[in-house]
């Protein structure tokens, strides 16, 4: 059994930021990630981020991932367990981890769960045909492995991920037949949406996919318009030729470990599904268990990094670690989070978070 001060599950933006902040205060950290690289979804993000300088605006996710993982790897207070999957949390506060065919148990004094989210799916006839992908899978193929998923893509969902992946497909030389969005408006930031619109990609709001076509693989789809009650309007069907249907219909928090630990959970649609109740300092209802990033509610990577930083600072300071800049650092992170969630774009998140406060 490994004993550590802080265990962090997940080496994406939240987990990396948490590890760095906790280790800088002097705490010993074990960082567990199931992949053979750190950075989580950041490594697929070739576009520039928004926000202020402190929120890493105009940097690309892939560069941020490299910088954060370099710092984590170089810090001797942090032990990285890569290709390691947490199989469960047990009532005596022990994590079981499978790594390269072996089971290890870890007993941390504090636990930060930064497991991220999983893609949601959609129900329509023929949704199991080869050629139906999640947007995350398409982004992995194109941006990580340099493999085209097909030649002509129908994107389902006009949120940031759908629109950004559409643009990245265009950059990779893949045709985008169109983007459909069930809601009345494009959810993505306009700067992203404007790029695909300029490239001539039609965006159909208030549309959904009625069915996919194809015998052995996707050859197209029928899309249909929705009325104000989300019902399909007969006679508005339209056939789209495509060999890939890419689903970008949102994410949901990956919370198994939190359920196993007995954290109080609540269903908040604005945050993507069931999320843990948490204090402002990101501690759950189970003392010593913290959350950060998408597992606490689906947001952007910039917010995940800030939450990670906050959970890292708070878990380490609860163990008695401190530093001359601790209070200032913590106040600064809270201020950044508030800024990221301010204004019109943050309205949904603010509404969601209000329901998840402990």
């Amino acid at each position: 059994m490994i004993h550590t001060e802080i265990a962090i599950v997940g080496g994406g933006p939240a987990g990396l930021a948490a590890a760095i902040k906790a280790a800088r205060l002097g705490a010993g950290v074990v960082l567990i990630d199931r992949n053979d690289y750190l950075g989580g979804q950041l490594i697929k993000q070739t576009h520039r981020f928004f926000g202020s300088k402190q929120q890493r605006a105009s940097e690309r996710g892939i560069d941020i991932a490299r910088e954060l993982s370099d710092e984590v790897m170089a810090n001797e207070k942090i032990v990285v367990m890569a290709e390691a999957t947490v199989l469960g949390y047990y009532e005596d506060g022990v994590l079981a981890v499978e790594q390269q065919g072996k089971i290890t148990t870890i007993k941390p004094q504090r636990l930060i769960v930064a497991t991220g989210g999983a893609e949601k799916s959609l129900l329509f006839p023929n949704n199991d045909l080869p050629g139906v992908y999640g947007a995350g899978a398409v982004q992995t193929l194109v941006n990580v492995f340099g493999v085209k998923p097909g030649n002509r893509v129908l994107m389902v969902g006009a949120g940031n991920i759908g629109v950004i992946v559409s643009y990245q497909l265009l950059q990779a030389g893949v045709e985008v037949a169109g983007i459909i969005e069930a809601g009345p408006k494009i959810g993505a930031y306009w700067v992203h949406a404007a790029k695909v619109v300029r490239a001539g990609v039609p965006i159909f709001t208030r549309h959904t996919i009625k069915c996919a076509h194809g015998e052995r693989e996707v050859t197209g789809a029928t899309i249909v318009q929705l009325d104000d009650n989300w019902q399909q309007i007969p006679g508005t069907e339209r056939l789209i030729d495509a060999d890939v249907i890419c689903l970008s219909v949102g994410l949901t928090p990956l919370t198994e470990i939190l359920w196993q630990a007995g954290c109080k959970m609540t269903f908040v649609p604005e945050l993507g599904g069931n999320v843990p109740l948490r204090s402002e300092g990101l501690e759950t209802s189970v003392p010593g268990i913290y959350v950060a990033g998408d597992v606490a509610g689906i947001e952007e990577a910039s917010a995940a990094m800030m939450e990670g930083a906050l959970a890292g600072l708070n878990s380490a300071s609860s163990l008695g670690y401190t530093g001359p800049d601790l209070n200032e650092d913590r106040a600064n992170v809270l201020e950044q989070l508030e800024a990221l969630r301010s204004g019109h774009v943050g309205e949904k998140i603010r509404k969601g978070l209000a329901q998840a406060a402990l």
Binding site: M1, I2, R34, T85, V86, L87, G88, Y89, Y90, A96, E98, G101, K102, I103, T104, T105, A118, E119, K120, S121, L123, F124, P125, N126, N127, D128, K210, C211, T222, E237, L239, T252, L254, T255, E256, I257, W259, Q260, T266, F267, P269, G273, N274
Partner: protein, 95 residues
């Protein structure tokens, strides 16, 4: 444009369970995720329900008129990911 008896809507990809199968059980009065899981194996495959559970919960909410948050979920048992029996049987590493 979307007719054809062979076109199926799959709700649980791991166990290859269709939306029609789930709805048929719901129509018989089985409006509880736990029972659907036992009868149909939905959510018991490699992904452990990460994809299908929210979809089935939506179906249950629609059929029963309950809010999604009032549909009870099933237990999140360990292990959360598939693990080979040999690895489990091997026990903890050399420490």
């Amino acid at each position: 444009m979307c007719q054809g008896s062979e076109s199926l809507t799959v709700i649980c990809r791991c166990e290859d369970i269709t939306l029609d199968e789930v709805r048929a059980y719901i129509d018989k009065g089985i409006t509880d995720l736990e029972q659907l899981k036992r009868l149909l194996r939905v959510g018991m495959g490699p992904c452990q329900g990460r994809t299908c559970t929210p979809l089935i919960v939506n179906e249950l909410a629609r059929a029963t008129g309950k809010a999604v948050k009032d549909i009870p979920l099933t237990a999140f048992r360990q292990p959360t990911s598939p693990v080979k029996l040999g690895i489990l049987a091997g026990g903890e590493g050399d420490d």
